[in-house]
């Protein structure tokens, strides 16, 4: 990288101090090194305190063609197409307040930098919750979760970010403040810009505030942990469960590689080839009791090996173990590759079979977890470069043959630079036009998302 910093950039870094206060600006290699993403170390880190400050920073950056990367907690920075430039990291962590909690309307307005887990604590005091539960919710910010369209197991009952966010305030790449949506449950006034910003990965604007839809904490909950000798039995059961009037809040699948630690927490084990299914229910006592009864009965008729129904907080340790699965798998090996397949719901079992064939033919272990009700399968594998390219290629073809797709989420930089991360689609040109229209100088998160849309 070029070590000389142009005068214009130098002036910009000075301006950052004027806008956000010098104590909220970090410069110098030492301070910025830990913000290195995809091999790029930024020159400055700024922590603005308000939407207005963000607008002033972005406007100045646009005028001086400084590239910016919005930053929540940094938990998604290694995902997806590679970043191409990052002069300054725009950190929203100091904007972490609840602006307005409207309990009687079941909505809350928050600043983007509030951490999901922290928000939940404050909501719980009012007997409310926000049903978004992505993996890193204890550290990830609401703004980051919205920008990356991150959902968790509860999406089966409550849907994804796209249906849970009522409005966002955004600073456009040219520094304009844009308000979208509002506090009402229904709103069709004008083009639905809110949905455009959700999942735009910070490439179309910086989300600074959001209005979220809340729900009352359920009266009761339960988790059913069911093991099978064969994944096929598990998916037959899922098919029957989905075709029933039951309304579980989550249906999660783990293979024996991924499910090992959860089984240990339950005091049992999983043999090679076993499968673990977690069915969560929440609602009134009556709802939950009925789910426990009916789901257990379904499991029995589908040759379940063990069935454990854990009510309320008794399910907590096992659920936390499940939430830790991805971290455990990734933590052990930095060269691990996390992929995601999306297939029609009824084809998820077929996809699992195909992955097993691929893993057997290459003699590699592939860990699997899935949101069964949404047809989403995560694959974890650690493999050397050459074999990896062949394996991911086969996974892509397997998903495509089932009318779905497979993409790489997390992978070492060298891998992400070399392979096509995203599946082919015919709407990428329109997306690129949208990016060019909103960010003519390509200053926001250059290379991400649209940059990787080949």
């Amino acid at each position: 990288m070029d070590n000389t910093v142009s005068q214009e950039k130098q002036a910009f870094y000075q301006k950052l101090g004027e806008i956000a206060g010098t104590s909220n600006v970090l410069t110098g290699e030492k301070a910025t090194a830990c913000y290195t993403v995809d091999g790029i170390t930024p020159q400055a880190i700024v922590h603005p305190a308000s939407t207005e400050q963000v607008a002033n920073i972005v406007r100045a950056a646009n005028e001086s063609r400084i590239t910016l990367v919005p930053w929540g907690s940094g938990s998604k920075q290694q995902i997806g197409p590679c970043l191409e430039a990052a002069d300054t990291m725009l950190c929203l962590g100091n904007m972490n307040q609840i602006v307005e909690l409207d309990a009687s309307n079941f909505s809350v307005q928050v600043q983007a930098g509030i951490v999901n887990g922290e928000l939940q604590k404050q909501l719980a005091e009012k007997n409310l919750f926000f049903p978004l539960d992505p993996l890193y919710m204890e550290t990830s910010t609401i703004g980051g979760e919205i920008a990356t369209n991150s959902s968790g197991p509860r999406q089966f009952m409550y849907s994804t970010v796209r249906d849970l966010v009522l409005g966002v305030t955004v600073v456009s790449p040219t520094g304009d403040i844009i308000h979208t949506g509002g506090k009402t449950m229904k709103n069709v006034a004008g083009i639905d810009l809110c949905r455009m910003y959700i999942g735009s990965w910070g490439t179309l604007g910086v989300i600074t505030e959001a209005v979220l839809r809340l729900f009352p904490l359920p009266e009761a909950s339960a988790g059913l942990y069911i093991t099978f000798n064969d994944a096929e039995d598990a998916f037959r059961m899922v098919g029957q469960l989905l075709n029933s009037p039951l309304t579980p809040s989550a249906i999660e699948f783990l293979d024996s590689v991924a499910g090992h630690s959860v089984a240990e927490t339950l005091g049992s084990g999983l043999n090679d080839g076993d499968a673990l299914l977690i069915v969560n229910a929440e609602g009134t006592r009556g709802d939950v009791a009925r789910h426990c009864q009916d789901v257990s009965a379904l499991a029995k008729t589908n040759k379940a090996k063990t069935i454990m129904a854990l009510e309320d907080e008794k399910a907590f340790p096992a659920w936390m173990a499940y939430r830790g699965v991805q971290g455990a798998m990734l933590g052990a090996n930095h060269s691990i590759v996390q992929g995601k397949a999306a297939v029609p719901i009824s084809k998820l079992g077929d996809m699992v079979q195909q992955v097993k064939k691929i893993s057997a033919s290459h003699s590699v272990k592939i860990g699997l977890t899935a949101h069964c009700g949404n047809g989403i399968l995560y694959t974890y594998l650690a493999e050397e470069h050459e074999a990896l390219l062949r394996i991911t290629d086969e996974l892509k073809r397997a998903a495509a043959s089932l009318n779905g797709f497979f993409l790489i989420e997390l992978a070492p930089l060298s891998v992400r630079k070399e392979i096509d991360i995203l599946p082919p689609r015919n709407d990428y040109p329109l997306m690129r036009r949208l990016k060019a229209e909103f960010d003519p100088n390509n200053i926001l998160n250059r290379g991400r998302l649209v940059g990787g849309l080949g």
Binding site: S104, L434, L449
Partner: protein
């Protein structure tokens, strides 16, 4: 006016039997369910995606305005061809292409009528939740253009939650696929932008919809109140307690009286207001909900609570609500439907304000509301032969929308902006918000071919299309 040669070119694309250009036909497509009228040049009925693409290539080359149209039931003037041109009528693209309950998907052409889809799903034990009151006639394409709601959206959410993917023809005739059959597609949510875009970004030619199993059981109740305040407070209390019924609809006394004149729903005509409440879910859990709701109604001085015991009783209760707009049209065709929406707990205050506005302007307003969502539908009646009454009615409507905005609400919950609420957009959005919307329009449709003259208020005061006569 477009050249006769263009009409010939269009006939070559879709066939003569799929074109209308006579004056009487043009007249029939010059209006929708609002009070405005403007003549198109030609009506085209494509049969497939290739037709739509070829029509758009022609329109793009010749820079002719194109207005996509379903059943024309929209309530915001969205399908009125203010710049003339081509009305692209999708009603003949009406095939249900696939229903796959195991994948929870239905794939349909845009001309499929909402109720026809429901009727195809019902025997399989499935349904498509958005249920606009117009569902007997409105098309799925139109539902998507307006991001339609309906009573059941309280529990299940609106159209945008149930459209997973679309095949779309762009302004230059290019065919693309946005969203997907599967979930969590990568890239920008173009599908989210497209839904509710009122035919201004493109035209959908294939829709991938999310369907879900029908609830095991449901109970339908009618709660009758002597004071409207009690009625709306009961809604606030029920929702505030965290109970999410399938639907809560509110109708005031005048609305009930009007409905009873044409639909025999059994609504009381002497009560200040009624609530139509439906709960749905697992059979064993319903009784508790019914009891809780009953208690909240009693606490708010409900005079009577009827619980439907048979399907016939349930259907009668719903028939009244579904026939509400039609019943009003029967006694007084010209009316303005407001669609203002407020935060849920502001419903009592908003209804009170509507009453004040009716008194202030001395206009007759009848009320129906998707109460659980805070979505009001005051209908403002007037005599079409008295232009000053129409003006007064419009002023009252504007006041209601401003009141909704002041309460933290919005000018439209489910009907869209179209022509009717174009000017109210200014009260709702900053210039920077509107500029961002225009950018989206520019990216999709740089030549402003799709449904021009809608949604965005003109920089200068618009010359609105001439008022429509009594014919509706």
């Amino acid at each position: 006016m477009i050249a006769p040669s263009i009409i010939k070119d269009l006939a070559r694309i879709v066939g003569k039997e799929n074109i209308l250009a006579d004056l009487k036909d043009l007249l029939a497509y010059s209006y929708d369910a609002t009070m405005r009228q403007e003549m198109p040049d030609v009506i085209v009925f494509p049969r497939n995606t290739e037709h739509v693409s070829a029509i758009m290539k022609l329109a793009h080359r010749e820079k002719i305005a194109v207005v996509p149209r379903g059943a024309g039931t929209n309530l915001s003037g969205g399908t009125i061809p203010v710049k003339g041109g081509i009305v692209l009528e999708i009603s003949r693209m009406n095939r249900i292409l696939e229903i796959n309950t195991a994948d929870r998907r239905a794939v349909v052409e845009p001309g499929v009528i909402n109720l026809d889809l429901q009727n195809a799903l019902a025997p399989l034990g499935y349904f498509y939740p958005p249920d606009p009151a117009s569902q007997k006639t409105s098309t799925m394409g139109g539902n998507i253009g307006e991001n339609a709601g309906g009573p059941l959206c309280l529990r299940y959410g609106v159209t945008s939650k149930y459209v997973f993917g679309m095949e779309v023809v762009l302004a230059d005739g290019e065919v693309i696929n946005i969203g997907d059959y599967v979930e969590d597609f990568p890239g920008y949510d173009l599908r989210g932008l497209f839904i509710g875009s009122e035919g201004m970004l493109g035209i959908a030619t294939k829709l991938i919809l999310h369907i879900i199993p029908k609830p095991e059981a449901s109970r339908t109740m009618l709660a009758i109140f002597d004071r409207l305040e009690d009625c709306s407070q009961a809604v606030s209390d029920i929702i505030g307690a965290g109970i999410v019924p399938g639907a809560i609809e509110l109708l005031d006394q005048k609305m009930c009286q009007v409905i009873e004149q044409s639909v025999k729903a059994g609504y009381p005509t002497d009560a200040a207001g009624i609530l139509l409440i439906e709960v749905a879910g697992l059979a064993n859990a319903l009784e508790k909900q019914v009891q809780e709701i009953s208690q909240f109604c009693q606490k708010n001085n409900a005079r009577e609570l009827r619980i439907a015991q048979t399907n016939a009783e349930r259907d009668a209760i719903w028939a009244g609500r579904r026939g509400a707009f039609g019943s009003v049209a029967r006694i007084c065709p010209p009316y303005i439907v407001c669609d203002g929406t407020v935060p849920r707990d502001k419903l009592p205050a908003a209804l009170h304000k509507v009453g004040e506005i009716a008194e202030k302007y001395k206009v007759l307003i009848v009320n129906v509301a998707h109460a659980g969502d805070g979505n009001l539908h005051p209908l403002i009646l007037f005599d079409v032969n008295k232009p000053e009454e129409h003006e007064t009615a419009k002023k009252a409507g504007d006041d209601i929308l401003d009141a909704c905005i002041a309460m933290g609400g919005t000018i439209s919950g489910e009907h869209g902006i179209g022509l009717e609420k174009m000017n109210a957009m200014r009260h709702m959005f900053d210039p920077s918000d509107m500029a961002a919307m225009r950018r989206v329009k520019h990216v999709f449709d740089p030549d402003d071919i799709f449904n021009p003259g809608k949604m965005f208020p003109p920089e200068a005061e618009a010359v609105l299309p001439k008022e429509k006569g009594a014919a509706r």
